[in-house]
């Protein structure tokens, strides 16, 4: 159970990104964060693993206050939370294998990891690459890959963490719509088969309906909707996306 309580984030330039956001995520859920660009989705996800420091509020995960953790404790929490980025955030000049292995940095001996990873971790990396279907790309450099392949590397890297919670920030927004499903299906699989809680921000309502078990709608940093995907009526949709919004269908 992840509890977000009265979360507020004000950036240094005065921008109010999150305004008193509260919700709960039971274990095993596929929660979708819905909202326009700039609604605070990325800030919210990054506050959960403290890539961004919240200004106010608490985030409690299975009884542990993430917002109060620091140093070693914070790193121990982070290593159980996978994060998938819109722009993949791979180290472009490193190999796919190295990128995937870097997901294990929170577990291995820091000094050893600087020299080389243990053989068992390499095997684990290959298993995770197999899981996303790109074993043969292991020796390639990340910048030789296509967008879809890169996001799979991103997923394999997150899997190295053996996460219990997976955060995904617009994981398919930089990809062709046809690739969106293939990536989201992996997340769905992780959610259903491995029981990993997924919190994923998305743009398209059709994808939300297809994959989400619950939805939090954000607008200007505030929660404007909370419920099941099928409860998003056209009226609700306009509340999240503004009055001029039209629905677009993605196949």
């Amino acid at each position: 159970m992840l509890q977000v309580e009265h979360l507020t984030k004000i950036y240094e330039d005065g921008t109010l990104a999150l305004d008193d956001v509260s919700f709960e995520v039971p274990d095993g859920e596929f929660l979708v964060i819905l909202g326009l660009s700039g609604a605070g989705k990325s800030t919210l996800l990054r506050c959960i693993n403290r890539l961004i420091e919240p200004t106010e509020g608490r985030i409690v995960w299975d009884g542990t206050d993430i917002t109060a953790a620091s140093g070693e404790e914070l790193r121990k929490i982070r290593r159980h939370i996978g994060f998938i980025f819109q722009e993949f955030n791979l180290v472009e000049r490193s190999s796919v294998l190295t990128n995937v292995l870097s997901g294990r940095l929170g577990y291995v001996n820091p000094w050893q990891s600087i020299i080389r990873f243990p053989q068992e971790e390499v095997k684990r990396a290959m298993r995770n690459l197999e899981r996303v279907g790109i074993t043969d790309l292991a020796p390639k450099r990340a910048d030789d890959l296509s967008g879809g392949q890169r996001q799979r590397v991103g997923i394999a890297r997150a899997l190295m963490q053996e996460p219990r919670l997976m955060l995904a920030d617009e994981p398919v927004a930089s990809l062709d719509p046809v690739l969106a499903h293939s990536i989201l299906r992996y997340l769905e699989q992780l959610n259903r088969e491995d029981g990993i809680t997924v919190i994923c921000s998305l743009h398209f309502l059709d994808l939300v309906r297809r994959y989400g078990s619950n939805v939090v709608g954000l607008k200007d940093g505030r929660v404007v909707f909370q419920g099941r995907p099928d409860e998003i009526t056209d009226q609700r949709f306009k509340e999240i996306y503004g009055q001029e919004a039209e629905r677009i269908t993605v196949t």
């Binding site: 890539l51 790193r75 955030n89 472009e92 000049r93 940095l105 990891s113």
Partner: protein, 460 residues
Amino acid sequence: MEGKKSPLLSAFLSLIPGLGQIYAGAPLQGAALLLAIVVTALLIQWQGSTFLYVGIILAWLWGVGDAYSLAQGRQISLVPPFLIIGVIVYIIGWQVTDIKLMRLITDVADIKPLVSNLLQPAVLERDIETQKAEVIFESPCSDSPPEKGTPLEDEPYLIILDKTCGEVGETFTIEGGNFWPSSRGQIWWLNMAGEMKRRIRQEGEYLTFQTDEKGRIPPLTIVAPEAFGEARGKGPQRSRVQALLKREVGTIHPSHTFFLVAEKMMETIFLALMATTVAIVFAIPVSFLAARNLMGGTPITMGFYYLTRTILNILRSIEPLIMAIVFVVWVGLGPFAGVLALAVHSVAALGKLYSEAVESIDPGPIEAITATGANRLQTIVYAVIPQIVPPYVAFTVYRWDINVRMSTIIGFVGGGGIGYLLQQWIRLLMYREAGAAVWAIAIVVWALDYASAIVREKIV
């Protein structure tokens, strides 16, 4: 443009250039015209070509007319006066830099020997064998003049036929034998100790001779030259007259110059290597201090950022040549001064390039690695270093390449390396030797340029 302004007043104001335009609503153009005319007038005054004031007057008159029509609401048109001013500036520039294009054609003969020497660098040579013989001449005469010399059986000899002493300017005749047949030779004039010598000239030309088929030097008339330096005018002085033949023998082999150039070239390359290495050691920490994205946190770190940047900019603006002069005075002539000069300049140059590489790293991977629970060291090793190593290596190789080129120049002011040899040879008019150095520099610079291009291509 509003037509409420008075055209006449505008034109009147333009008697001071640009003021009309400022009044009629084009302050920027007006100010620019005023500044341009004043500066150009000062330039003409300084340079002294007063006829150019015609152009200033034309530009000024156009300005008056333009101010009038501008106030009437028409479009501003200051292109012609600025064009005139541009022409004036280039005319002054032509005269100041003393451009004489005809010289390139009329004096082309002067460059020919130089170019032909440079094209025949002294890299290969054969051993030189010499034959020589001497007699003694005295000037002016003492009570016991030297002997005329005797013809020898087997060895080369030189004798004086008529008189072995005389005043400066008097002539005497020599003859010799047993030299190599049918060879050209030279006549030298030495003091008795042999440490001072010069070739004898006759009517401006070096005196030479040709041996006959039996190796005899036919009778040769010589005008007695002045004694050397201090001995001049101090009573009778004896001097040695020497006939000298040279010929090349044996196989062609690399010359002494070749080995000297090779040795100094290695010194140059190492000089650049040491300077670059020292620069790397200092530039890496400096580059982090000079990277805005790393130092942007607090006002204190921003202060360090600006301080570092300022120091780098100042250091970079000092030419390495000037630094070399400073270090030559400080640590003495030689390659160490060159290393220091290039190192200081390279720290500034590399520090800036490195810091720009740091500034351009993608924050995404850092975020991603942090999110895995990695600590700070792991984040740097896995997210920052892979991003900055390739540009660092590329910039460093490029810098080494630049330093090799610069160290040849550094040598001109005594900073060691091949430049030191080159400037000596140029001053001594030894252009064939200088040519060898120039070729060596060209080859090494080309090779390094090529290598660094490949390295940069592979890495970036």
